[in-house]
Amino acid sequence: MIIEVKNISFAYENSLTIFRDISFSIDEGQIICILGPNGAGKTTLLNCLANIHKPTKGKILLDGKEMESMSSKEVAMNIGFVPQIIIPSFSYEVLGYVVTGCAPRIGIFEKPGQEHYEIAQQALEQMGISHLSHKYLTQISGGERQQVSLSRALAQRPKVILMDEPTAHLDYGNQIKVLRVIKKLAAEGYAAVITTHNPDHALLLGGNMAAINTKGDFTYGNCRDVINEEFLSSLYGINLNLRHIADIGRDVCIAPPL
């Protein structure tokens, strides 16, 4: 067990509680999809796991240690974070961007050395995009940027990778490619937690899922056990159908005609 979430609640200052009393754990090689309608608190939950927000109640244990008491450096050695989109203020070279994943292991007045650039290069190879290493961030497509961002998380050598809506800004083909990468990383032993707007992505990935609805109710379990028509319809507030397509060999979530 890498991360243990124990009874956490979260409320922004001077506002209603987003969610309360959430508990679950994250193991090696596990995929967890966080589902929920807009504004329910998917990203807030992910940010709590990333130590960006501190839960107002409860605690998160990372390798048995309370995360709140750890420095951001210690957390970053175990948890990699892939933001929804990277909008660079300056056009950095891809390799130079990825090497910043080594930051938790480099002293504050030091600069990355040969070995760190090798780690970055390996991370790019792992993602199959080493040909991009000398391109500039402004020269590559959104899909490629997502892969670059994921490479940087890999260069952090984390146990868990958190991804905030990794498919949100991608075309359909790139969405599926990113899901494949997530599946592959999980097979290599990384734990992956992603937020997504598409319940079908949870079905495709087939791991565990966590759902938060607008009332802040939390549901956690294996996709196959939790996802049914009734659950999805109530989560998103519209009628949704779940069908097994025999010749494709999987369950699909589809909306009825408009």
Partner: protein
């Protein structure tokens, strides 16, 4: 760009800076003959008899301090511009962003109104600049919001307020004497610089530059924004604190001895990025070299083009603004 090409840039720029420095030492009203300068140095070192005492005085108590000061001021303003742009993730930011210049103006103007001399004016300007930054960084703490945007907005609030304060001082100032002194101070000049002032700013220059070069890679990470920097394990408060403090001290020291000088802190970092790319590991040293060079050229023109000294801001604007337009033209494809 590979490392060899970058090192070649550093080497060529350093060489060029040395050549320009020697050339600037030979330019002046008294004599523009390099032989006179050479003789004056030899006699000062005691290897040759004194041939031209006036030349020796001019060289050692006027030209050398001034040339050194102009290079340091250029480097300091450009460096703090580059650092602020990185930390605030905005290539349009200049060293005045946190109100340093307006604070320094208020300080200098009050010293002028109180009838103080040069030294007090510089001390007041320095204190004014630092107080302005302290105020601008205190507002986000009061609002309990640590974001960059709030900090920039606080800088605008403090700057705006202090600019008005300075306007009040100009309004009540004696028109013929005090007002013109304030106005000239705000246009920037290194004309009355002496070795003591040059020596006074050099520790800040050296320490600030070394620290910021040391932190240059961290500035890359800060430029990704707070969330990314934190998830990369960075102690944002600490690193941002050190970089902003260094950059503000650099600006305040420069402004306190030469008045406010526009454009240089905005333009030079852009030029550096055009030369070596965006990585701050390279941008920062190149910015220091280019800034020193640019200011040296500007100040040499300011003191030798006409029989009167030309205020520096006039020249930096006249030269800097078209330069900036040219840079935008070169980068137009990457700007949206």
């Amino acid at each position: 760009m590979n490392k060899d090409k970058y090192l070649r840039h550093v080497f060529i720029l350093s060489l060029l800076l040395c050549v320009l420095m020697l050339a600037a030492l030979c330019v002046g009203r008294l004599s523009s003959n390099p032989v006179d300068v050479y003789n004056a140095i030899r006699s000062k070192l005691g290897v040759a008899p004194i041939m031209n005492e006036a030349m020796e005085t001019v060289l050692f108590s006027i030209r050398i301090p001034r040339v050194l000061a102009s290079m340091m001021i250029g480097a300091m303003l450009s460096l703090s511009g580059a650092v602020y742009q990185g930390v605030f993730r905005n290539p349009l930011v200049s060293p005045d962003i946190l109100g340093v210049s307006s604070g320094a103006s208020v300080g200098a103007a009050s010293a002028i109104l109180l009838g103080f001399g040069m030294v007090e004016r510089q001390i007041f300007a320095f204190i004014g600049g630092i107080l302005a930054v302290a105020l601008a960084t205190a507002i986000p703490k009061l609002l309990k919001n640590n974001s960059n945007l709030i900090l920039v907005l606080s800088g605008i609030i403090v700057g705006g307020f202090l600019t008005s304060l300075c306007a009040i001082m100009k309004f009540v100032a004696e028109e013929q004497t005090e007002l013109s002194t304030i106005v000239f101070w705000q246009m920037g000049s290194i004309s009355s610089i002496k070795m003591t002032e040059t020596a006074a700013i050099s520790p800040v220059f050296l320490i600030g530059t070394v620290l910021l070069i040391g932190l240059s890679w961290r500035i890359n990470i800060l430029s990704f924004g707070e969330v990314e920097a934190k998830t990369l394990g960075m102690n944002i408060k600490q690193i941002r604190g050190i970089t902003i403090t260094c950059a503000s001290l650099l600006t305040a020291s420069a402004v306190s001895i030469c008045g406010t000088i526009g454009w240089i802190g905005l333009v030079i970092p852009h030029l550096a990025r055009l030369l070596v790319g965006s990585d701050h590991i390279r941008v920062i040293p190149i910015t220091v070299l280019l800034g020193a060079m640019f200011m040296l050229i500007i100040d040499t023109i300011a003191r030798s083009l006409l029989t009167v000294e030309i205020p520096l801001t006039i020249l930096t604007g006249l030269i800097g603004a078209p330069c900036y337009a040219w840079l935008l033209y070169r980068q137009r494809a990457n700007i949206s």
